[in-house]
Point group: C3
Chain length 168, copies 3
């Protein structure tokens, strides 16, 4: 019993500290333009679902928004952090992250004096004039999320893509 | 007459709110290094023209500049917004967007205390020590721009690439 | 003697002002997830070495850190600039650059009020909850670095990949 526990701990530690990885994979790429009033996260979720993307991520995004809801830094699972609702015209100067069912996107936005504000994109990214977005899809990998007890969040798992799934 | 107008409105709304999209496309990738004194936008335009790129965009860019001219947020076609001319050494911490004839690039730049300033790159991005830039080109798509009366700007249009153009 | 000097100057100017470039290249792509306590630069160097990547760069990165050591702007070879050691939870809102043996990465990080700070990533980027990173590798190019007397730094050189190297 004790030795099984020790073995468990021994096995556990490397898994905890080693990184999860996948590739090399070929890449398929999509480009989108969203127009005034469209919400970026909703549009991306819809796009990923329609195209049945399995391992998508943002390559680049340029545009402007009239709103944004961000969760700021210093957040952990027990002490959920400040959420801010911006209501002003902002330029998108970065949008980074992965786009599977539970997307993980961070954004930085520049205001009318050039000051940038950044954090975890929760939604409400309503396009002002345009959003031009390039999406990459890893052809032979699959992104899923599993609850990670060390972080309290569902974290990215990278797997080889199942080749024999019927109908996909 | 009225019904034609109604039909026009009905047809108009989905076009306005639906997004323009293209892909999946294979990707060709280029890497560049610009040296001291080179201007980033001019160099990218020249590169895109020389290589006859049809659907290019920035994948990543790292480097430093001695100047930058940025158009700040809160800009619309009727009320053109503040333009600032920065004259200091700045680190490029993001450069995002598409690179067809009328490129649409946003940048964020960090100063000597780490403060970042961001906006629409208008030009004057003169390299201080280096700029390492990776450019993606979507092999089967083409980026053009058409005036969008809803925004007052020429906005991105994504089309399948013409296969039968002579001499290209 | 004078004409040789003139020739030298004539040859020098175009080299100084022309950019170094490579491509088009196909792209192979890798995805990683780093967990709590892992250091991003160390993990990326290890990954690049293990996979024997020759022309790697960051496509996207999303995550959070508890620390960061950044070299701020206004740095040149003679007047090495301020280095700051951040010790707080920060969201990664951009990570840009190339990843050969002497990587060149810039980062911008958002704090608990959304304020972003950016600069050259020197190390110490210890993961708080997660870091999801997508790495591109240019299949037919190779990145090396050579000292550039105009900048005082080892700068990026982009070369066609040697096809006949034994054992690679």
């Amino acid at each position: 019993m004790i030795s099984a526990l020790c073995l468990g701990l021994l096995l556990f530690i490397p898994v905890c500290n080693s990184f999860v990885q996948g590739g090399p994979s070929p890449l398929s790429v999509y480009a989108l333009r969203l127009g005034p009033g469209e919400e970026i996260l909703t549009s991306l979720f819809k796009f990923v679902k329609e195209k049945r993307l399995k391992a998508p991520f943002v390559i680049t995004c340029v545009g402007s928004v009239t709103k944004a809801t961000l969760r700021l830094a210093n957040c952990d699972a027990l002490n959920t952090n400040e959420i801010i609702h911006l209501r002003e015209r902002l330029e998108i100067v970065s949008l980074v992250g992965t786009l599977n069912e539970e997307a993980h996107l961070h954004v930085s936005l520049a205001d009318k004096i050039g000051k940038t504000i950044g954090g975890h994109a929760l939604g409400d990214l309503e396009v002002f004039t345009t959003a031009e977005i390039v999406i990459g899809e890893l052809s032979n990998l699959e992104f899923t999320r599993e609850m990670d007890e060390h972080t309290g969040f569902p974290e990215l798992v990278i797997s080889p893509r199942s080749q024999n799934v019927t109908g996909v």
